[in-house]
């Protein structure tokens, strides 16, 4: 029998236990686990976490002691948290799981995160700096020291700078995975040498958004949305898959409606309430029909449109004969979109009227909780694709679903970038190899045209860095890249900074091994939801050793082989470029605490964490550690939720000194701008004629913050587009794609080559064996009707003929693609060519040959693409296909406005010929040149259209912003 007061006694004992626990700095009760019975290791046990592991062959388990060290995934751009399980005995990483302290990913990961361990332990990884031994591209290498690499590069770069050949230094980045470090280094060098991959990726997605609200990408509050409208599933199947997918599912569980507009059946569309499968490129016609419905039925947010659209500017500029009143604008608005009926949209898209009508009704019911997204895919596929995102965002703008709960936010609000200690000025040079005159509105660098520019003599490169980028494989027209990279007269030295072997690295002079996500430092923030957070990527072995009391000053001390990390590499290279400080470069990377010594990464990140991340010092102090130690321990810090409708914020009178208001309500001031805590990319609209800075916008007598656009409002009418040569597309409209039915021959059909798989990494998946097992082939999706018509059976070899040549693949006959369209996924068809001294897993061995302009790639038939390697995994490889590298057969299609490569292809599909093998490629580079010129002819160059004598609208975002003088049109064309 229990004592009378047993519960009271037990309560007292528990209370004492709680006091004892908390006095040791531990958590008494970590809260109920959120995932069934499993829970994440409580953070107070991260120094010594005990897990049970099987003992091979015994059927027993043993305790294993781990140190858990956070880092950040590097396998897509969403920067999810990882927790490395570091064996306390060997200090090796044994596995990666999710970091529960990460605000964006909340402890969850997609397949790519845990597969980091495959990359780290990849038997074929590059462990030492290599220098080519034979001719470029011959595949012969010798190991060299980092000192030799650094001295060679530093000498060349210094010489180029001294000789005013700044333009000949170029850094070409694929996966950035960090916010601003490398741009700061390039600024320190004074070169406009940043070249991103963005124009083959998201430029058009960005352009459509930027012309509306200044910020260049959307951020989604999916979890609180009522209606989620995704234009193709790229974002939810590739980048941001994990943080977005988990919040979309939360919304669905709440009852939110999901609409997916995607030509093919994706993972995302299988979850949709409405899967709309349009003819590719017709998406704007559908969105404009929905917009017309909202306008005609007066179901738009009239007050929001009246207050926030730049309708007054539009009426004044384009309708001077009509009164500049909102009522008159509403009438015009109805007229502008009157032709976009459901029937018209149905005819263009081949989607039933009833489905478009149902989608329109669903969207009409969303109120301000409409959350939309478009990233690559439809925007990246089509000529005029930037109008996909512009017409999509029109729906948000009509409903007032911008920057409020459950809507689409500007990424500049939900991404946080702190100030950094390296802070050089803007370069005094404009690099027209990246921002040429033909593309004044190009959102990003015209990177994929580089071989054509060099071929036609626009310049040469002295020192060219590819950094976690594989343009030979990723870009259209890869053989043009092979040709360019092989030519030492065009590229003096090519250094490939890469964690894995790739097709581009074969054509390098130096192959420099860089760390994977657990072997490098980076600071990242991404717009995953309505919250600001910053995450820290770090070399986990370094952090683990430091916890054990060691001092590590160079990440090479703890990384495998001589694998380095880029940040230390860039700091050291910068230091050596200017050894005596005479170029004014060295000072930017000099220690603040110990002058004369190079800045260390501890000092660099320590400074940022001490000075630039709101709330972090307080959180660190509460735990009795430095902010740097806090970030090394937890890997992520939340800065908190973002406010709503920040554009409504009133501007205080003291910030409106010498105020000037233009006729449309834009307010300018001479008052100094208030200090900006968040340095996320935000456009800087230009000052007025007297030099006052734009401060806000006057709405109903109150000056409010507004948007970072020239007008300060949402720009339904883009004066930028109108003034820079494109008045006919200054409003949200429908541009017929280059693969519109009217433009194709009877036997052609569109090929969708852009879609991604959620389990793959752009060009680094081949070195992750788990991911390769999940997805390793890219057959061509073809509808049964088309297959029957063409006499093609499931699994049959087919030839797909493009503008430049053809590729051979296997057919996948499926109803997952709409009739009349074929599709082939990204990621696959990785190759190496015979003659290489290295043999790498999960690539096909090929012969690469050319006869004049005719290039071919042919898999070596007698060798299995996945020839078993040594070790236990060799027996576990059950698949043989590796797919086809279709991008080699694509010509360059730069959109004349956004500059984005328009990926979709007009192709002919037919059964393969005898002797054809999957993966086989043939390309005629003369045709590649013709395609380049055909698209170049569509442009309206700055020297013809610039309204102000500059090369590019000054307010548009640009990674580096050359000085005002450098932005002027060159004398040779402006006179």
């Amino acid at each position: 029998m229990k004592p009378k007061n047993w519960i009271a006694a037990l309560n007292a004992r528990v209370s004492a236990f709680k006091s004892e626990t908390e006095s040791q700095g531990k958590t008494f009760y970590p809260g109920a686990s959120r995932i069934d019975l499993a829970s994440f290791p409580p953070k107070e046990h991260w120094d010594d976490w005990i897990a049970l592991e099987p003992v091979a062959g015994t059927g027993k388990r043993q305790e294993k002691h781990y140190m858990l060290v956070p880092t950040t995934c590097f396998n897509c751009e969403s920067a999810c948290g990882l927790l490395a399980y570091v064996d306390r005995e060997t200090l090796e990483v044994r596995k990666f799981e999710g970091n529960p302290e990460h605000a964006g990913s909340r402890g969850r990961n997609c397949a790519k995160g845990p597969a980091t361990i495959n990359q780290v332990t990849d038997p074929d990884r590059i462990l030492y700096p290599l220098k080519r031994a034979g001719a470029r591209g011959e595949g012969q290498w010798t190991r060299v020291s980092w000192d030799e690499v650094l001295d060679t590069l530093a000498e060349r770069i210094r010489k180029a700078i001294v000789e005013k050949r700044h333009r000949e230094i170029m850094y070409h980045v694929g996966r950035p995975g960090e916010d601003g470090f490398t741009e700061d280094i390039l600024k320190a060098w004074g070169v406009d040498g940043h070249n991103s991959h963005t124009n083959i990726c998201s430029s058009s997605g960005r352009a459509g958004i930027q012309y509306w609200m200044g910020y260049d990408r959307p951020s989604n509050d999916f979890a609180n949305a009522e209606v989620i409208l995704l234009t193709s599933s790229h974002l939810e199947a590739g980048h941001y898959f994990n943080p977005h997918a988990q919040r979309i599912m939360e919304a669905k569980k709440r009852g939110a409606r999901l609409i997916v507009v995607d030509v093919r059946m994706s993972n995302t569309s299988t979850h949709a309430d409405h899967w709309v499968s349009p003819y590719p490129g017709s998406e704007p016609a559908i969105f404009l029909a929905v917009a017309r419905h909202l306008i005609e039925m007066k179901r738009y947010n009239r007050e929001f449109v009246r207050r926030w659209w730049n309708w007054h500017e539009y009426m004044t500029a384009e309708r001077p004969d009509e009164p500049a009143t909102f009522e008159a604008f509403e009438k015009v608005l109805g007229e502008l979109y009157a032709d976009y009926t459901f029937e018209y949209a149905a005819a263009e898209s081949q989607v039933p009227v009833a489905q478009i009508e149902a989608v329109a009704e669903t969207i009409a019911g969303a109120g301000t909780k409409l959350c939309t997204q478009n990233w690559r895919s439809a925007a990246a596929g089509n000529l005029g694709g930037w109008q996909v995102s512009r017409t999509l965002f029109l729906l948000n703008a009509l409903l007032g679903a911008i920057g409020v709960e459950g809507s689409t936010y500007p990424n500049g609000w939900t991404k946080f970038v702190g100030k950094r200690p390296i802070n050089a000025g803007h370069p005094e040079h404009w690099n027209d190899l990246t921002f040429p005159l033909e593309y004044p509105l190009g959102m990003n660098e015209m990177s994929f045209l580089l071989p054509h520019f060099l071929k036609e003599g626009r310049g040469t490169l002295d020192t060219y860095f590819t950094r976690v980028y594989n343009p030979v494989w990723t870009n259209p027209g890869g053989f043009d890249w092979v040709e360019m990279l092989s030519d030492e007269s065009k590229i003096g030295l090519h250094a490939a900074l890469t964690p894995t072997w790739n097709e581009t690295a074969y054509f390098a002079d130096f192959v420099l091994p860089m760390g994977h996500s657990s072997e490098r430092h980076d600071l990242v923030s991404t717009e995953t939801h309505n919250e600001n957070w910053v995450t820290f990527r770090q070399p986990v072995a370094r952090a683990a050793r430091e916890r054990l009391g060691e001092t590590i000053t160079d990440t090479r001390e703890v990384n495998p082989g001589e694998v380095w990390e880029e940040n230390e590499f860039w700091l050291e290279l910068t230091w050596r470029i200017d050894p005596d400080g005479s170029l004014g470069i060295r000072q930017h990377v000099e220690s603040m605490s110990t002058p004369g010594e190079r800045l260390s990464l501890d000092e660099y990140y320590g400074w940022i964490f001490d000075h630039s991340i709101p709330g972090l010092p307080d959180k660190a102090e509460a735990e009795g550690v430095t902010p740097l130690a806090y970030m090394r321990r937890y890997g992520n810090v939340s800065i908190g939720a973002v406010g709503e409708a920040l554009y409504e914020n009133e501007i205080p009178p003291e910030q409106l000194e010498d105020e000037h208001v233009d006729p449309h309500g834009r307010v300018y001031t001479r008052a100094a701008a208030p200090p900006q805590v968040n340095g996320a990319p935000t456009p800087n609209p230009e000052p007025d004629a007297e030099g006052r800075r734009p401060a806000g916008v006057a709405i109903d007598g109150t000056v409010r913050a507004g948007f970072p656009t020239p007008s300060g409002r949402l720009e339904f009418y883009s004066s930028t587009l109108a003034q820079w040569g494109w008045p006919e597309v200054a409003l949200p409209t429908y541009i017929k794609s280059h693969i519109h039915r009217d433009k194709l021959a009877a036997d052609q059909m569109p090929l969708i080559p852009t879609f991604r798989l959620p389990t793959q990494i752009h060009t680094r998946g081949a070195n992750a064996k788990w991911l390769s097992e999940l997805a390793h082939n890219n057959p061509v999706w073809i509808h049964p009707q088309d297959a029957e018509h063409k006499g093609i059976a499931d699994g049959q070899r087919i030839r797909v003929e493009t503008e430049l040549g053809f590729f051979v693949a296997e057919a996948w006959v499926t109803q997952g693609i709409r009739p009349g369209v074929v599709a082939c996924s990204h990621h696959m068809g990785r190759w190496q060519f015979t003659g290489s001294t290295d043999h790498h897993q999960r690539t096909m061995e090929t012969t690469l040959a050319h006869d004049g302009g005719h290039w071919s790639l042919r898999p070596v038939e007698h060798k299995q693409p996945l020839a078993p390697q040594s070790g236990p995994d060799a027996k576990r490889v059950w698949w043989t296909a590796v797919g086809v590298h279709q991008n080699l057969t694509f010509g360059v299609h730069p959109d004349p406005v956004s500059g984005q490569h328009c990926w979709h292809q007009a192709v002919r599909v037919r059964p393969a010929e005898p002797g054809d093998v999957p993966g086989q490629i043939h390309v005629d580079l003369e045709k590649s040149d013709a395609v380049y010129r055909e698209w170049l002819a569509m442009t309206r160059p700055a020297d013809r259209v610039s309204p102000d004598g500059t090369r590019r609208p000054g307010w548009l975002l640009r990674p580096l912003k050359p000085t005002a003088e450098a932005c002027k049109l060159p004398d040779s064309v402006s006179s």
Partner: protein, 299 residues
Amino acid sequence: MSATASADLLRLLAAIAESPSSAHADYARALGLAAPATAADWQVAHTMAFIEQCPPFASTMLGEGGQIGGAAAARVADFRALLGAEVETAPPDVLPALLADYAELVERAASDARAAHARAAMLWEHLLSWVMPYLDAVNRSAPAPYDGWATLMRDVLLAETQAVAPPDLLPLQLRMAPPALDLAHAESVDAAVRALLVPAASGIVLTRVDLTRAVIALEAGLIQNSRAFALGQLVTQDAPATLDWLAAEARDQAIARMAEIESLGVVGQFWADRAHATAEALDDLARVASARRVSSGAH
């Protein structure tokens, strides 16, 4: 009024039912429970208690099919969501989470009338509506420390009934429970067996350990498979003896439930009635099966 558990005591009872961590030994010490010697032993005990024997979900006890999820779980989810709990990411009706929420309500109830009301609803609607027969099963079937944990939990929750009186009306979870068994009209042996394994319908809980006891008592062959399969095989091997054993088991569990009626009121009556009815139905089936065997001359 006698003392009731503090919120922290309830939290500790919840925490110890979560996946074992290195803190579990301390939890056990604080609660006066026997602690397994090593982390491996903890893991084995936890797996046996909550994965092999007694899944800790309200829906497995209250739901129509005796499985995780469904309407019973949704009712828990709705209630917890109203409390502000995050229920999107996990089965919402897992016992440690319910206990954690209940602890929170206990803490707030002293100064918040709405919390006090919610506490009563949580206790009777989502805990006591199913946990007594569940804890009884854990006590019978789980190794230390979870057998002792079940006893402690039972005593703590019974003490709660002194502070929060039973409702007059049967909780919604039990009003929406599947109908009582109708074994006499079961379509097949398999259907009858599946019905027996639905606690809210049969009023009884049969764990794998219970079935092992049956196998030993009946000197039958043990087949390692699902409970339904194993029970079906026992019936097939020796229907009269198996049905007799099941009737006795149901009677034992009915007696245990009857003893709780004083504290649990209509809730206790519900479970006692269901278990008693099942015992009687099994008695009838056993008699029929014996008669068939006699008439067929089988032994």
